[in-house]
């Protein structure tokens, strides 16, 4: 450190100082009759200069200046190189930003490390009284509540539309220290009609009106005063890009809230957890309920990977992390392809500069020095490429900023530039410089030193590079193609029921009031009556389970009553009300649904009616007509009789195989659970029915826990991963292909230009022009073939871990993917070779023989 400081201080005056000192020495010696020998003063100066070792950087600077000058003379090279590196580095930094945003971002609150999410009784949300109680316990410095799953109607004066709202306790902004761009946050002394706008809503819906703070906007028919606007880079506590439009105090009576708290200074999560358990026990004494709060108390962090873990589960966060790792690897390969492009361009250039290098060598330049000079050119290119890449990243981030993904959630990613991305960009620059410059620089010098090396060897090196590029792009393309196939597959897979015109209500009945089965049945009947009476509702049904939200499987043995045969079975079980199939849009293949009229039952009492799906009938009852057959299973002694056969549905995930399913009549089972679901088919857009359905169910039982959502929003997310994966990897794959083709094209053009003379001779000796075209194309085909073979080998092993991201049934080692990708590469590769081949064939023998 000290040395560095001294160097910095002395560097400028050094040369002059040494000179003066030596002069003084000489004069003294001369004055005293020269008792000391002179020695070599130049050596002293050079040694002194080397001691202050900035020569390296000074030389570098000179090289850069020289590099700029010489690169200016080959604009085509610079353009290709910058385009390659810019795209490669741009896509790398963009994906890295995305990963950073998803995996490591912190919410916009002061000191996010001390903010935690509280989970009481295993529930993510709790009643407002609970929030108040936890706050009054004094365990935390501050306690706030929010509900992020609400819509509110916004009227802009002409039209009313639904926007995403967050309901939050009024201390939210002050307690968490949420940054505000304009105005202020909601304060505890504000009225209930105060609203804070997201920056995006303000810009897109209010045209960025600077005077909006203090004015009123109409929400749910009431005027709300706009008190503040959030900054553009605001990140909500939920993270993952979740950014609702407006933030308001709770406006729906009894909305359950997620509880966030700020730890007291110095308190650890462990201590807080112990304290929270005590609070929960007191809560259980004070407000005894069906779900004890102390049963499962957790405290989760709100930033980075910890939040991801608490929101998506351990496995989910791992998959997400691995997905970004895969993406990063794939874009890394794309960058490598780009670097190889630049390397082969520099290699070609190196041979053109052989005379220059030879001159410099003979004038006494060190090889190291020459190497440094050549290398600095690729460093220069990489630097410019990085600048271009970062500009591309900014453009992509801006595009993403404007883009609203077609999702049932307000997801809006804001990719900011920060030090992590800067550091990553610097690493990429060094990588690109080394990957693209090291080999060409070394080759050029070696070739200059031993000129007996045949020029063909340089061409061979380029060919090796093209082969590597093709192999790499095959790996990238295989990954991309797999994700595309995955998308086709999962889109083609229907969940087996209608998700566009249906909505779903999840009800949690208070168990104390519904101990009796009769009460539950009565609730179902009343609710169905109320729901069916709503305008626009075409069908309403109740079910134990709505697919994708819950699942009950049985693995048992059933005995067919007619033949006495015992059949081992595995099926998904459900209990539904008669209208379920109509409401869900599940076709009935044969027979009928259950008959309405619950208790006495119009279905005969000697047998329990069941409905099975087609898979069940095919797999277990294939020997005879399934309708009317009876079987005994489980603990029931009453036989079950099949009254209908329906089409199957998916039960847990979109990619699963068809499973056997059995439906029973909800009104006939011993219903031991208090969780119930309703499914409604609506003639109007389902989102418009949410409030009406909520209100209708609320009227039937004000105490029941309710969650109403469109079917699309409850399962739409199941499609998201495959869409995102396909979009990202598809784009990257195309980019990789383009870069590899540029590389191949460049090499073909170069090799044709090197062989002009040879081609001229061949033509002069009577070769057919078609032979020449064939020769060039065959040369390219050989490269593509070798590259593809190598790539296939690599891809076969490299894409194996992708299996976890794909729908079942789509194996990464599926030969179709490899073949399709190899064919694509072959076609584009040959197309790239066609142009240069044509040019070679059109060579005029006379001119080409004079060439060189």
């Amino acid at each position: 450190m000290r040395r560095l400081f001294l160097r910095l201080r002395r560097r400028r005056s050094m040369e002059r100082d040494v000179e003066a000192e030596l002069a003084f020495h000489r004069d003294m010696a001369a004055a005293q009759g020269n008792p000391t020998p002179m020695g070599n003063t130049t050596v002293v100066k050079e040694q002194a200069r080397d001691l202050w070792r900035f020569t390296f950087f000074e030389n570098l600077w000179r090289d850069v200046v020289y590099g700029v000058r010489s690169l200016r003379r080959s604009p085509a090279l610079v353009l290709t190189a910058l385009l390659s590196l810019g795209l490669g580095i741009g896509i790398n930094t963009a994906i890295f930003s995305l990963a950073v945003e998803f995996l490591f971002s912190q919410p916009s609150v002061t000191n996010p490390g001390s903010v935690v999410l509280l989970i009481l009784g295993g529930n993510s949300h709790a009643n407002p009284e609970v929030v108040d109680f936890v706050r009054s316990s004094g365990l935390f410095q501050a306690v706030v509540g929010e509900n992020e799953e609400t819509f509110i109607n916004w009227n802009d004066g002409a039209e009313t539309r639904q926007i995403f709202a967050v309901q939050l306790t009024k201390n939210y902004f002050s307690a968490l220290g949420v940054p505000i761009a304009d105005g202020r946050g909601i304060l505890p002394q504000d009225t209930d009609e105060a609203v804070v706008l997201s920056n995006r809503f303000w810009r897109s819906h209010l045209r960025g009106d600077p005077a909006v703070v203090g004015r009123a906007i109409r929400l749910d028919g009431r005027p709300y005063t706009v008190v503040g606007i959030l900054p553009a880079d605001y990140r909500s506590l939920i993270g993952l890009g979740f950014s609702p439009d407006v933030y308001v105090p709770p406006y729906i009576e009894g909305t359950r809230l997620a509880i966030y708290a700020r730890l007291r200074p110095g308190a650890t999560i462990g201590e807080a957890r112990a304290g929270l358990l005590t609070v929960a026990r007191r809560l259980d004494q004070l407000m005894p309920g069906p779900f004890p709060y102390a049963r499962e108390c957790r405290i989760a962090a709100v930033g980075g990977l910890d939040r991801l873990r608490s929101e998506t589960g351990e496995e989910g966060s791992q998959i997400l992390g691995l997905f970004f790792l895969v993406l990063q690897v794939v874009v890394g390969l794309v960058l490598l392809i780009a670097c190889l492009n630049v390397a082969s361009l520099l290699l070609a250039r190196g041979s053109a500069r052989r005379r220059e290098l030879a001159t410099r060598l003979s004038l006494g330049a060190g090889r190291g020095r020459l190497f440094q000079q050549l290398f600095s050119e690729s460093l220069l290119l990489s630097l410019m490429g990085t600048v271009l890449g970062l500009a591309l990243r900014q453009a992509l981030a801006a595009a993403l900023d404007r883009f609203r993904p077609p999702l049932p959630l307000p997801i809006h990613l804001h990719l900011t530039m920060d030090f992590r991305i800067t550091v990553y960009a610097i690493l990429l620059t060094s990588f690109a410089a080394i990957a693209s410059g090291l080999l060409p620089a070394w080759r050029s010098i070696r070739q200059t030193i031993s000129p007996d090396l045949r020029p063909e060897s340089k061409l061979r090196m380029q060919r090796v590079m093209v082969v590597a590029q093709i192999a790499l792009s095959l790996v990238v393309l295989t990954a991309a193609f797999l994700f595309l196939r995955n998308l086709w597959r999962s889109n083609a897979i229907s969940p087996g029921f209608d998700v566009r015109h249906t909505l779903r209500a999840d009800v949690n009945l208070p168990p104390a009031a519904y101990k009796d089965d009769l009460r539950k049945r009565a609730y179902v009947a009343l609710s169905l009556q109320a729901l069916a009476g709503l305008p626009g509702i075409q069908a309403a049904a109740a079910a134990r389970i709505i697919p994708f939200t819950d699942n009950t499987s049985y693995g048992s043995e059933l005995t067919l009553t007619d033949t006495g045969r015992k059949v081992p079975v595995e099926f998904a079980w459900n209990a539904v009300s008669p209208d379920y199939f109509r409401a869900m849009g599940i076709p009935i293949v044969r027979g009928r649904t259950f008959l309405p009229g619950s208790l006495a039952g119009s279905d005969d009492t000697a047998a329990r009616p069941v409905i099975v799906n087609r898979t069940f009938a095919q797999r277990y009852l294939a020997d005879r007509e399934p309708l009317g057959r009876s079987f005994v299973w489980g603990r029931n002694q009453t036989p079950s009789r099949i009254v209908g056969v329906v089409e199957g549905t998916k039960t847990m995930s979109i990619g699963e195989r068809d499973r056997p399913q059995v439906y029973e009549d909800l009104s006939r089972i011993d219903n031991d659970r208090t969780r119930l679901q309703f499914v409604l088919r609506s003639a109007t857009p389902p989102a418009m029915q949410l409030q009406a359905v909520h209100a209708a169910l609320r009227r039937v039982d004000p105490d029941a826990g309710l969650q109403v959502e469109t079917m699309y929003s409850s399962i739409g997310l199941a499609f998201l991963p495959s869409q995102v994966g396909a979009a990202l990897l598809g784009g990257i794959g195309v980019l990789g292909l383009i870069l590899a083709i540029i590389g191949l094209y460049g090499v073909m053009v170069y090799s044709v230009s090197r062989r002009t003379r040879e081609i001229g001779v061949r033509l002069a000796l009577g070769a057919d022009r078609r032979d020449i075209t064939f020769m060039i194309v065959a040369g390219a085909a050989k490269l593509v073939l070798i590259g593809s073979a190598a790539g296939l080998l690599c891809a076969f092993y490299l894409v194996k871990p992708l299996a976890m991201f794909l729908v079942p049934g789509l194996r990464p080692s599926d030969p179709i993917s490899f073949l399709a990708v190899a064919a694509l590469l072959a076609i584009t590769g040959l197309a790239a070779a066609w142009g240069p081949a044509r040019r070679a064939a059109s060579v005029d023998p006379m001119t080409s023989l004079r060439y060189e």
């Binding site: 001294l6 100082d17 030596l22 003084f24 002179m38 002293v44």
Partner: protein, 112 residues
Amino acid sequence: MAKSDSPMLLQGTLDLLVLHAIQRGALHGYAIAQTIHLLSDQALKVEEGSLYPALYRLELDGAVSAHWGVSENNRKAKYYEITKRGKKLLAAQQETWSRLSLAVQRVLARQP
């Protein structure tokens, strides 16, 4: 980089001699060379080609500090002064040197 045949030994020894020469007070380069020359009964001649690089190195190592001053004949000259670190280095090198020379003498004094 270094032009000498056995730079390690020479450099080490030269460092020792230089440090020794300036331990009584700051001297300029020429005076250092002269001091060594005289103290060795004119046996050792220090070339400027090795003296100044050694001085610069010592300065970078923090063993000596340099400043411009006025010489006895009223000319601007660079003076080198031993630092605390230099004194420690001197003591250590002196110790090493005496052990080494003693050992060498012992070896040469006896017949194999």
